[in-house]
């Protein structure tokens, strides 16, 4: 218990520190609400969340618990299904974007939950609710990627890295000596094309894709 030094006087009795402390309850009182579930269901990749029967195959084979403490897809799904939004935000928001999309969960899920996409949808759901306080790297990257794909049809690796660093305010990092020497090596070996090829009839496609997004 954290040291608590503030004072409180009740009926003339002075109480300091733990003498007046109470513990927060861990009991869940809320009803299950499907509000959040319905929202996640509508997001890209989120529809299969309803199939989950909490067997734990996903978290059992997950890559991440080796490296990220408490990463647990089953729990994310459970929290959304039961509508425990506060716990999801307070205890799990820093975890959901950690998924590396290795697809082991989806691969093995006996109920056909597209777990990887569901976890991503949950991350997206939190993103939409602006719980991260800032644009996350992942969201920024997604945005740039989408933009570039729609605009040019293809990804230019240098451009996307540059745009990403600039969008997340890390352009300086990109200009570090290491990165520059790496870039130089790539450039001289012809692996960076400064002027990427254009797709012939992309304009029309691009227009149509933009319509789709509106």
């Amino acid at each position: 218990m954290a040291e608590n030094t503030d004072k409180m006087v009740i009926d003339g009795v002075e109480l300091t520190g733990i003498w007046k402390e109470f513990l927060p309850s861990r009991i869940l009182y809320e009803d299950v609400t499907t509000e959040f579930l319905d929202e996640v269901k509508k997001l890209p990749g989120g529809s299969t969340i309803v199939r989950c029967y909490q067997c734990g195959t996903c978290s059992g084979g997950c890559t991440l618990p080796d490296f990220v403490d408490k990463f647990n897809p089953r729990r994310f799904i459970d929290l959304v299904r039961r509508g425990h939004y506060d716990i999801l935000v307070n205890e799990n928001k820093d975890l959901v974007w950690k998924c590396v999309s290795c697809q082991r969960c989806t691969h093995r899920c006996p109920r056909g939950v597209n777990t990887q996409e569901v976890v991503r949808a949950i991350a997206k759901f939190l993103e939409d609710r602006k719980v991260f306080g800032k644009l996350t790297n992942d969201e920024a990257f997604d945005e740039i990627f989408m933009e570039e794909v729609i605009e040019d049809g293809r990804i230019d690796e240098v451009k996307i890295v540059k745009d990403f660093y600039s969008k997340t305010g890390r352009l300086k990092e990109m200009m570090s000596a290491d990165q520059l020497s790496l870039g130089f090596k790539m450039l001289t070996s012809g692996r960076i094309k400064l002027f990427g090829g254009k797709i012939k009839d992309w304009k029309k496609v691009s227009q149509r894709l933009k319509e789709e997004l509106q």
């Binding site: 861990r26 869940l28 009182y29 009803d31 299950v32 499907t34 029967y53 909490q54 039961r82």
Partner: protein, 349 residues
Amino acid sequence: MKTVLVIGGGVTGLKAASELAGMGYNVSLVEKEDYLGGQVAKHKYYKLAPDLRLAGDVLDPVIKAVESNPNIKVQKHSQIIAVSGGAPEFKAKIKNSKGESEETFGAIVVATGFGHFDPTVKQEYGYGRFKDVVTNAEVEEMLNPNGPTKGELKRPSDGNIPKKIAIFQCVGSRDRQVGNPYCCRVGCVVSTKQAIEIKEKYPDSEVYVYYMDMRMFGRGWEELYGKAMEDYEVIFTRGRGAEVTLKNQQLSLRAEETIMDRPIQHSVDMIILAAGMSAGEGTIDAAKVLGIKQNDYGFLSPKDDFLSPNESSKPGIFIAGADKGPMDIENCIVEGAAVAAKVAGSLKN
């Protein structure tokens, strides 16, 4: 031609009787109630899992097959009070409102079935104290259009339709405390089926199932479970209901959400207890009268569980259906047919 005595007019007994009669035997069917159909009829089971087929669709043909067969003599409101002799000649004393009579039989089929577990013992669930805590059998009656509420699920306390309903699994099953460490085998599917029926009838309602494991081993059961989750948004919580209390005139339950390692406190309008199967009174009486072996829980023990599943511990006395242990209707009917074959075989020899 020898006559076969069938004790019990539930689905198992009915099936056994009609099969035997079909093979040309004379059958005497003794039922202690004044109706046929056993627990299915008693609690007005409405629909059957997993196809949500009307129980009547299944029961009526079985009853009809018995009632229309001239080789079967049905004696309702009757009980066997004593049996003497042995295979192949039993003398049974049958008692009914008219008095006692004695008949001779070549073989006896015991199909006395099960009883619904009485949840009053589980004091923490408040059955009997809180009106809105009901059993799954009572819900069957309510959901049946011919039942007391004409098919409406109504709170016994005020007659209103509940909005939030919790179903507790494993009431009186898998529980050493009440002496039933076995699995009731049908609670899971019946609860799932009822949850679907409720959601279908009242789409605005919320149905919560508190379970330890969903044991969906029967034909189409697991699929039904999936349907309940996906199509009906029944909420399944992995945690056994621990207690029910009344908080400001509303039922309040405690459980653990074991996936999250946290206790839950939840207020609901109605709680359905999925009361398991225990040995029926008829089974316990029959065991006493016939002197056949029972297992630790009062159900009848076959001579050999694997090799002679339909023979009792005594020659010439056969057992079938839910008096041997928890069983669903589908399998009870199979048992009825199986025991008929076994009886016919034994009478030929």
